[in-house]
Point group: C2
Chain length 153, copies 2
């Protein structure tokens, strides 16, 4: 089937360019909705991102979280400090390997991110109503592949 | 085939949540690469976005561009002014309908955005090497659908 052939580079480039034209608007719309929901749980967008990453991937270092969400360590450190002040995460102290200290969710942090994600899942299910397993799987795989390709070496 | 069935809401929500976890990193990686390339053409990320939108969709008003790229009119107006000062776009004056003035590319603006996009297409083709027509088409359609679903009413 012709659809199963890799696209030649001179077609692939413009086609991915068109794909990326949807990424910016999607990111900004989603960021706006997350920001609008801050008042519900009282958790900022940045703290929410840290809690979600810990929820999805388990205890991690600040540099590990920063790499996973493709943002700066400084920002993740600030958000982690904010979350720790509110008892949503704890950092396992490790004076000899400060950089390898693991950040993990507290029970309160776990409950908070679960409430946030449950609310978001309901909203997303309404937005994407009718999408099939194959469509979502293909799109997610393509995005993850592009993320990996664009990561700094 | 079971893959062709719409996902039930309780599965769709978490699946789209996983999809969105790739959107933020993809956006930030792409934005970084666009920013790093600013020095090549001497065009800022914001001006580049305006030029691309005019290139793709033809002459448009500032509010039209802002809606298409999901950002504020004020920002698009600033970027349009910057592009106009550099003779990359012109605005067809219309004193009685200032808001409906159409912004359009000059020949210099057209040449600039074509150079930028040609360079980007080559880079994107390398990043996405091996992706098929069907994969890119499905992913783009899913993203556009989610953008439409998240647009403010």
């Amino acid at each position: 089937m012709p659809n199963g052939q890799p696209l030649p580079p001179d077609e692939l480039g413009p086609r991915l360019s068109a794909l990326f034209r949807a990424v910016g608007p999607l990111y900004r719309h989603a960021a706006r909705q997350v920001a609008e929901a801050e008042s519900i749980e009282g958790v900022s967008t940045g703290v929410r991102a840290v809690l979600e990453q810990l929820h999805v991937a388990g205890p991690q270092t600040v540099p590990g979280i920063a790499r996973a969400v493709a943002t700066s360590r400084q920002y993740v450190q600030r958000m982690t400090n904010e979350a720790a002040e509110r008892d949503l995460v704890i950092t396992a102290d490790n004076p000899t390997h400060r950089r390898s200290s693991l950040v993990e969710l507290t029970p309160a942090g776990q409950a908070t991110i679960e409430r946030i994600l449950t609310r978001e899942h309901i909203a997303l299910a309404a937005v994407g109503e009718g999408l099939t397993d194959a469509e979502v799987a293909t799109c997610t795989a393509v995005l993850e592949r592009l993320v990996a390709g664009l990561e700094p070496r």
